[in-house]
Symmetry: C2
Subunit: 187 residues, 2 copies
């Protein structure tokens, strides 16, 4: 009998050399955050997606949601603590090769970035673009949108200001290396 997930895994050459293939940005970050937690490096979690519940019912004494709709997060998706500092970020995959559309970030999220920085926290975006992962500091993000009145961020700006996050095996996306370089340098 064949048990689908117990089948001996045929690890092809391609899968060995590109360990994370098939994992999207969210999966890479979840794996990375689990790794940080296991190794006691940081406590950073993705917030659950907020939903609006329309109808619930009980099945075998368990409360079940029968109807609900997705709501948009009014903050960024990820937050937590690293070396005593408050960390807050969002992660976006960008399909365009030339510019990151600002429609990706809601207005209240931009205000949230502004607020986190004002209150002394670290806020940034992780952007996947042209096959690379960038950490774009919240201050650089705000500077761009406040002074350039465009509807997207030019890739050249992300290349110039962004820090490259290297993809690896464990953790899959060691963004705290970039955080360390950007915000803790010299400590």
């Amino acid at each position: 009998m064949n048990y689908p997930n117990k089948i001996n895994k045929q690890v092809t050459k391609t899968e060995i050399s590109h360990g994370n293939r098939g994992m999207n940005l969210e999966m890479l970050l979840n794996q990375t955050n689990n790794y940080y937690k296991e190794k006691d490096i940081a406590l950073i979690f993705k917030k659950p997606t907020p939903i609006g519940i329309v109808d619930v019912s009980y099945e075998n004494n368990k409360k079940m949601i029968k109807k609900a709709y997705f709501q948009t997060q009014s903050t960024l998706d990820y937050n937590g603590i690293y070396k005593g500092k408050y960390i807050d970020f969002d992660a976006k995959e960008c399909l365009s090769h030339t510019a990151f559309p600002l429609s990706n970030i809601h207005k209240h999220q931009t205000e949230h970035i502004r607020g986190v920085i004002r209150h002394g926290g670290i806020a940034f975006l992780i952007i996947k673009m042209n096959g690379l992962y960038y950490l774009l500091d919240g201050v650089d993000y705000l500077n761009y949108i406040d002074y350039e009145k465009r509807k997207s961020i030019a890739y050249s700006y992300i290349e110039e200001k962004g820090l490259i996050i290297k993809e690896g095996y464990l953790p899959a996306l060691d963004y705290l290396q970039a955080v360390e370089k950007k915000y803790f340098k010299g400590e």
Copy 2:
């Protein structure tokens, strides 16, 4: 379709004269956190309840959840930033007059409290008990459960170690006053 939060709110006399009557702890804290945000005092939010989605469908091109169940949060419910410090807490209403049952706090949540403190953040519980609101510091909580091998926290301990949070109109539950006293004294 009726979305619960769009229903016209009937404000009764009782609700006017006893401002917070009928508001449970979660509502009081949401109102308080909104107030802190509006006044730019702190950015603290309740995390959405995580759900496991079983089935989705599309209605008028909108993705709807047709079946889902509630999951337990592996962290505490509230977190954010205040005066540059990472804040993390949970809020519990306790019906017993004599002891706070530890079954209220999951094991992974206790470990989360331990982790937040180890990483330099502020972690605590807000407990409503005997008609009063207490802030119980995470360290005091851990000390009790690590050294007393009981299944509940005696009310006398909460009375001794806890800081009273005064109920008010705006904000409804000004817990940052207690946070200020406990963690920022002398700054």
